[in-house]
Structures are given as structure tokens and as C-alpha cells.
């Protein structure tokens, strides 16, 4: 089991190193294959661990393995430790599994791009980082993976580094994530300070001894980290910009895996959040706000990838909501299904973009269904899953979240309402996108620029992953039906079992489930219908509402605000310091002192008149003065 975990972790790293060191000695295609293979090996390793876990009782499903002490200071030790438990294995499976598909897809997608090898090295590096994040056996390693995924995300967003917008987006993503890292680190400082350890088990065991303030601080820090990573309000502005990266990157990092790490973090650190109910509530609230805001903004986006990006934010909002109310299994469930259908959507979008030579503006698209029937099917599957239409996977997972919210009662009901509104919005923007891209007659742009890949919609390396994901997006939700059967929850038991009695309720009843399912299904269908009316059948006009539209198009003015509040002042302060402190004061003081000393020296030199009478006078005066002093001191 440990071996599987280590293989899982190290294979992508080896792949990345191999590609880096081999340089131009291997072909571009070989680099792609190495990368895919290494991620596939990682998947294999994860599977091994998974099957090893399956055979065990709930209480024996956690095993940790330490290679060496990574960091220490006196009593404090943080090992290079992998923790293999259902949660980490589930995540590892998703990461490496989806990762394999997407890296394989990249072989086709990136074909002909410059510096393909670098791309595949980065992809492998990302998978390694993500696996480190999920497998890391203590908070420090988790944070290490946390930072490294941000790094790989930076590298991949800015992959086309000659495009200034890509570079800017990459920097933005990294810096905002760094905020999260900093908050995360602060939480860990509190933990170290109070408990002396960063091991999950040790730290959680010591929670009882901590003051509630401390626990709240820890939870708050972790939440801030999670919010930044998962692009939740208020640290979300980087994600839409991150769509500057190649589409498979968006699929893997900014949809399926990395951005969901925040959810993983909350689930992983659930004892902390359980001990800090206020912060948990905050997490859920942020999720709710985000899912609404993102859903609204997505309505007016014109860039196909940005729509999917906002939908990602929105879906992660659901997961936060779930995690915040303690429905960890539901959160993880949605995480998994979301990985499938969102990757599917991105990859399908990628095929579209690929076919349209990089065009991402939906207003230029239309009628593509005629040229790309298979892609349209894939897109439909993804859209239906996203809009939570049974029996597609999204339905089950979203339903279980909403049902849990209902089961929570009180605050949960408010969340439920938000979630339901979100469902409606999801359906609207998803199908708006679908209809704009595939519906109607081919637009002039499409007719002019569409080019088929050897008569097919894409190369095999692209279509096969899409197909696989399509299947998963359909059936992925069947492994758990809220209130009916719950193998996933059972599997995750060792994670969720710890404090079950503290939780109000995390397993909704069948009734609640059915009620919620009915309402949400109705809302989804209503949304789809509305979208159809507005953008397919065009029976109705989109309401003008200029102010609202502008607000949404300005993404609720977050970017503007951050620029004014943080970036511009920082730049102004830095410039001012440079101009008014550094150069004149710090640097100038030395010159001033030196100049002053030289000036004094010049004065002394002037006294040296060259006249011996002066010299004798100095002696006489000196002697007289000395005598005077001596006599008066007598």
C-alpha cells in the first residue's frame, strides 16, 4: 500500500525530471508519452493503494509512511510522510485518473505548439505536486504541495509566455495563491505554537487543549488558503484570467483537480472546522455567495472557457457549502463528479477551440453541431451533468449536497435556497453556452475557419479521453444516491467517522432527498427552458438591464477594487519609498556624511595657511589654553 502511494507520488516527478534532463534528446511526441505514462503509472499506484484499502475495516484504513524527516527544529518534526487513507486515495485516483486522460488529450491538443516538451514536463510536475498535496501526511507537506500546484499552475497558465496577457494572468494567479499560502502558513504557525506538531493526527488530537480563539484562527487561516486556491469569493479573480492557459491545463488544473484542493483541505482538516463552527459556517456561506455570484457572472461571459471557469467557481461553491455544513462525503462526491463532467466540458471546448484555430469567443461560434456531432454529444453530456439532470452524475452529487443542507436546518435552509437558485442559474448559463456554440446555423467565422482534423473532429488522443470522460460523467454519480445507498460515504468513513456524534446530521433522509431532488430538477429544467427560449429558439429577448449587465461584465468590480485597494497603493508606496527614502535618505546620507567630512577637512586645510606665524600662534595659544585649564583646575 505504501509502495503504491510512493509510486503514485514519484512517477510523475520522475517523468518531469526525465523530460527536463533529456531536453531535446527525446522527441516531442516521446515527451508527451513519457508524461502520460508517468501519470498513468501514478494512477496504477493509486489503484493499488485503493484495492489494498478496500480489503480493510474502517478503522484500519489509514496508514502513513515516512521516508525521512523533512523539517525539524528541536522537538518539532515534520516528516516526508505519506498518509494513505480513503480520502487521499480517492483524491489520488481522481487526480491521476483524470490527469492521465487530460495529459493524453494534450498530446493531440498541443501537437505543433512550440516547446511541447516543456508543457509535458510541467504537466507531470503538476500531477506530482497535486499528489503531494493529497497524499502528504502532515500540514507542512500539504502546504508544500499547495505551493507547488500554484507554481505549476503559474507555469502552465503562462505557458505561452510571449503573450503578455498570459504572463500577467499567470502572475496574478500565483500572487493570489500566495496570499492563500500565507494565510495557510499563519494557521500552521498557530497550530505549531499551540500543539507543537503538524501531523494530522497529532494536531487534531491536541485540538481539545486549544482555546477556541486559537482554533478559530487556525480554521480561518486554513479557510483563507482554501478560498484562494479554490477561487472562492473574495480571492477568486485569478481563475477567469487563468483561462489564458492551454485548454487541457484549464481542464486539469482549473477545473478537475487543483481548484478543488480547497475542498479537500476542509475535509482533511475537518476536526478543526468542526471545532470552529463559526468558521465552518463562514465557509459554507462563502460557498453559497460564490456559487450565486459566479453563476450570475457566467451569464454574461462571452468567452467559452470563462463561462466554464465561472461555472467551476460556482460548483466549488457547492462543495464549500457542503464541506461547511459537515457533509464531507457529499462534498467529495461532488468533487469527483465535477472532475469528470467539468473536465469533459473543458476538453470538449478544447476540441472546439482547436478546430477553430484558437477562437474562444462564443459570439463568433454557432452551428458547430453540424460539423462536430460527437463533440456536441460530449458537450451535451457535460452540460446535463452540470445542470444536474438525472441520471447524469452531477444530479446525484449536487442533490446530496442540497439534501444535506436541508437536513442541517436553520442556516442550512438559507444555504439550500442559495443552492437552488444556483441550480437554476447553472442550467441557464450552461445551456446558453451550449446553444450559442452548437445551436443554430454555422456563423460566418465558423464557416471560414473550421478545419477538421483529418476528416475527424480530433485526433484519437483527444477524442478517446473525451469519450472516457463522457462515460464517467454519465455513470459517475451512480455510486451514491443520497438516502438510498452510500458506498462512497462508507468508504470515506475513517475520515468522517471521527466525530459523527458531534455532527447534527450529515446523512439526509430519503424524504428530504426526494423533496430537494424534485425542486432542483424542476429549477434546472426551468433554467434549460429559459436558455432555450432566449438563445436557441430566440423566442424572447434577453432583458437589457444595462446596469446589472455592466456590473456582471465587470465581474462585480472585484478586480477594479483590488487594483485600487491593494496593487496601486503597493506600487505607489514602493515608488515613493524608492524616490523619497531609498535614494535621498538611505543612499544620500552616506554621501552627505562623506561630503560633510570632506568639507570639514577643507576647513581644517584652510587653517593650515602655510604661514609659520600661524603655526607658532597655534602653539602659543595651545600652551596658554593648557596652562589656563591646569591653573583653573587646580
Amino acid at each position: 500500500m505504501a509502495v503504491g502511494a510512493w509510486i503514485c507520488l514519484l512517477a510523475p516527478l520522475a517523468g518531469a525530471l526525465l523530460i527536463t534532463l533529456a531536453g531535446t534528446r527525446i522527441s516531442r511526441r516521446a515527451a508527451g508519452l513519457v508524461s502520460t505514462l508517468s501519470v498513468a503509472v501514478a494512477f496504477g499506484g493509486a489503484l493499488t493503494a485503493f484495492f489494498a484499502l478496500l480489503g480493510r475495516g474502517a478503522e484500519k484504513r489509514a496508514e502513513s509512511t515516512t521516508a525521512w524527516t523533512w523539517l525539524s527544529a528541536g522537538e518539532f518534526q515534520a516528516g516526508l510522510t505519506l498518509l494513505v487513507d480513503p480520502l487521499s486515495v480517492l483524491m489520488a485516483l481522481i487526480v491521476s485518473g483524470v490527469g492521465t486522460l487530460i495529459v493524453a488529450y494534450s498530446i493531440g491538443y498541443m501537437h505543433g505548439a512550440v516547446e511541447e516538451r516543456r508543457y509535458f514536463a510541467y504537466m507531470a510536475l503538476f500531477v506530482f505536486s497535486m499528489l503531494l498535496l493529497v497524499l502528504g501526511g502532515n500540514f507542512l507537506l500539504l502546504l508544500a504541495g499547495w505551493g507547488l500546484v500554484a507554481l505549476s499552475s503559474y507555469l502552465l497558465i503562462g505557458f505561452e509566455h510571449e503573450r503578455p496577457s498570459a504572463v500577467a494572468a499567470a502572475k496574478k494567479a500565483f500572487v493570489m495563491n500566495a496570499f492563500g499560502d500565507a494565510a495557510f502558513a499563519l494557521a500552521l504557525f498557530v497550530l505549531i505554537f499551540r500543539t507543537g506538531t503538524l501531523d494530522f493526527g497529532g494536531a487534531f488530537a491536541a485540538l481539545d487543549d486549544m482555546s477556541s480563539t486559537a482554533v478559530n484562527l487556525v480554521a480561518l487561516g486554513l479557510l483563507a488558503g482554501a478560498v484562494a486556491k479554490s477561487a472562492q469569493i473574495p480571492l477568486h479573480t485569478w481563475l477567469p484570467d487563468a483561462m489564458e492557459g492551454p485548454t487541457p491545463v484549464s481542464a486539469l488544473i482549473h477545473a478537475a483537480t487543483m481548484v478543488t484542493a480547497g475542498v479537500y483541505l476542509i475535509v482533511r482538516a475537518h476536526p478543526v472546522f468542526e471545532a470552529a463552527p463559526a468558521i465552518s459556517g463562514l465557509a459554507a456561506g462563502l460557498g453559497a455567495v460564490t456559487l450565486l455570484a459566479a453563476g450570475l457572472i457566467a451569464l454574461v461571459q462571452t468567452d467559452i472557457k470563462r463561462v466554464i471557469a465561472y461555472s467551476t467557481m460556482s460548483q466549488i461553491g457547492y462543495m464549500f457549502l457542503a464541506a461547511g455544513i459537515g457533509a464531507y462525503a457529499s462534498a467529495m462526491f461532488h468533487l469527483m463528479t465535477h472532475a469528470f463532467f467539468k473536465a469533459l466540458l473543458f476538453l470538449a471546448a478544447g476540441i472546439v477551440i482547436h478546430a477553430l484555430v484558437g477562437q474562444q469567443d462564443m459570439r463568433q461560434m454557432g452551428g458547430l453541431g453540424r460539423y462536430m456531432p460527437m463533440t456536441r454529444i460530449a458537450f451535451w453530456i457535460g452540460a446535463l451533468a452540470l445542470a444536474a439532470i438525472p441520471p447524469f452524475s452531477g444530479f446525484f452529487s449536487k442533490d446530496s449536497i442540497l439534501a444535506s443542507a436541508l437536513a442541517e436546518g436553520g442556516y442550512g435552509v438559507a444555504l439550500l435556497v442559495a443552492g437552488l437558485v444556483g441550480t437554476f442559474l447553472t442550467a441557464v448559463y450552461t445551456f446558453r453556452m451550449l446553444f450559442l456554440v452548437f445551436g443554430g446555423e454555422p456563423s460566418p467565422f465558423v464557416r471560414e475557419h473550421y478545419h477538421a482534423h483529418g476528416g475527424k473532429e480530433g485526433p484519437f488522443s483527444m477524442t478517446a479521453p473525451v469519450a472516457t470522460l463522457g462515460v464517467l460523467a454519465v455513470i459517475g454519480g451512480w455510486i451514491q444516491v443520497a438516502g438510498l445507498w452510500h458506498p462512497l460515504s462508507d468508504f470515506l468513513d475513517p475520515i468522517t467517522i471521527v466525530d459523527r456524534e458531534h455532527l447534527s446530521l450529515m446523512e439526509p433522509t430519503l424524504t428530504q432527498d426526494l423533496v430537494v431532488a424534485a425542486i432542483s430538477l424542476a429549477l434546472s429544467l426551468a433554467g434549460i427552458a429559459l436558455a432555450w427560449l432566449l438563445w436557441s429558439a430566440r423566442r424572447a429577448r434577453v432583458p437589457e438591464a444595462a446596469a446589472a449587465r455592466r456590473t456582471l461584465e465587470q465581474r462585480l468590480y472585484f478586480d477594479w477594487l483590488y487594483d485600487r485597494v491593494f496593487y496601486a497603493p503597493a506600487v505607489a508606496v514602493a515608488n515613493a519609498w524608492r524616490r523619497y527614502v531609498e535614494d535621498p535618505v538611505i543612499g544620500g546620507s552616506i554621501d552627505g556624511i562623506a561630503g560633510g567630512a570632506r568639507g570639514l577637512g577643507g576647513r581644517v586645510g584652510q587653517a593650515q595657511t602655510g604661514l609659520l606665524r600661524t603655526y607658532a600662534l597655534a602653539i602659543a595659544l595651545g600652551a596658554a589654553l593648557l596652562t589656563l585649564v591646569f591653573l583653573s583646575a587646580r
Binding site: 606665524r613 600661524t614 600662534l617 595659544l621 596658554a624 596652562t627 589656563l628 591653573l631
Partner: protein, 186 residues
């Protein structure tokens, strides 16, 4: 107060006035030649004071060696160079002159103060002295016993000065010859 005492006082007063007057003259005359002459007068008056202080040998040496030899050497040089006159107090007081007066005045005041402080104390009652005090024989004895080293070294200093004078003189001769050889107008 007996006659001898009054006489000595009178001599002292005369010598003192003469001494100080000539000293002022030394520093005041514009022409160095007159200054040198004034110095002779000063040295002579000092010799009188030395005599009053029972320093016969020193007084004699003062007149013979100092006034007779040293100052005469001065006079030769001045005559040779045709001493240029400078007006010491012309052109109003410079800061240098003011400061110099202050310095000299301060030194004078301080020393006088010291003397006054000591005068009421240790300087009132001079030691009794034997007849030999200040005689050449006594001086000679001291130079060969207690102050042998000083005596020898005085000789060395004079020797060094003589050698130095010779070198410097030779210097100026050479310099003159060079210039003559170069045909520069004198």
C-alpha cells in the same frame, strides 16, 4: 632698608627698564639691524640682572659669548643681506596680530599669576649661598660631575650645528655658483 639694598634696587630697576625696553625694541624696529643692536643692549642688561642673582660666570658668558659672538654673527649676516625693513605694525591690526597679542598676553598673565601665587610663599626667602655660588670654578666642577653628560652633549650640539652651518653655507655657495654659471643676472 640699607643703602646696599636701595642701590641694588636702583640697579635692578634700571636694568629691568632697560631690558624690557630693549626687548620691545627688538620686536618693534623695522630694520633688523637695529633690532640686533637692541638685542645686544638687552643681553647686556640681562647680564646685569644675572650679576644681581649671583651668577657671575653666566653673566660673563652672556656678554662674551652671546652678545659678543652670537649677535655679532647676526650683524654680519644682516649686513651681508642688507636686511630689508618691514613695518611690524603697519596696515592696522590683522587677526593674526590680535591673536598673537592675546596669546602673548595670556602667557604673560598666566606666568605672572603663577609667580604671584608662589611669591608670597616659596619665593620670599632665597637660600643662603656660599661665596663660590656662580663662580667659574663651581660651574666647572658641576660640568665635570653632576652635569657631565649635559656638558658633553652641549659640545655635541654645537658640533652638529657647526656641521649643519657648514653644509648650509656650502649649499648656498653652490647655488650661487650654479646661477653664475648659468649666466643669470644677479
Amino acid at each position: 632698608m640699607d643703602v646696599g639694598n636701595i642701590l641694588v634696587w636702583a640697579i635692578w630697576v634700571g636694568a629691568a627698564i632697560f631690558c624690557l625696553g630693549s626687548a620691545v625694541a627688538v620686536v618693534s624696529f623695522a630694520n633688523p639691524f637695529f633690532s640686533a643692536l637692541a638685542l645686544i643692549a638687552n643681553l647686556a642688561s640681562l647680564a646685569v640682572l644675572y650679576l644681581l642673582l649671583s651668577a657671575e660666570f653666566v653673566a660673563a658668558a652672556q656678554v662674551l659669548v652671546y652678545a659678543g659672538a652670537v649677535v655679532v654673527m647676526f650683524l654680519f649676516v644682516i649686513a651681508y643681506l642688507g636686511g630689508e625693513a618691514d613695518a611690524p605694525w603697519a596696515g592696522g591690526p590683522t587677526w593674526q596680530a590680535v591673536a598673537a597679542s592675546v596669546a602673548a598676553g595670556a602667557l604673560l598673565l598666566e606666568v605672572v599669576m603663577v609667580i604671584v601665587l608662589a611669591a608670597g610663599d616659596r619665593l620670599t626667602d632665597p637660600a643662603d649661598i656660599r661665596g663660590a655660588f656662580g663662580s667659574p670654578g663651581e660651574v666647572g666642577r658641576l660640568f665635570l660631575t653632576d652635569h657631565l653628560l649635559a656638558f658633553e652633549i652641549t659640545a655635541v650640539v654645537l658640533l652638529v650645528a657647526a656641521v649643519g652651518g657648514v653644509i648650509l653655507g656650502a649649499h648656498s655657495r653652490r647655488a650661487e655658483q650654479d646661477e653664475v654659471a648659468l649666466g643669470e643676472p644677479r
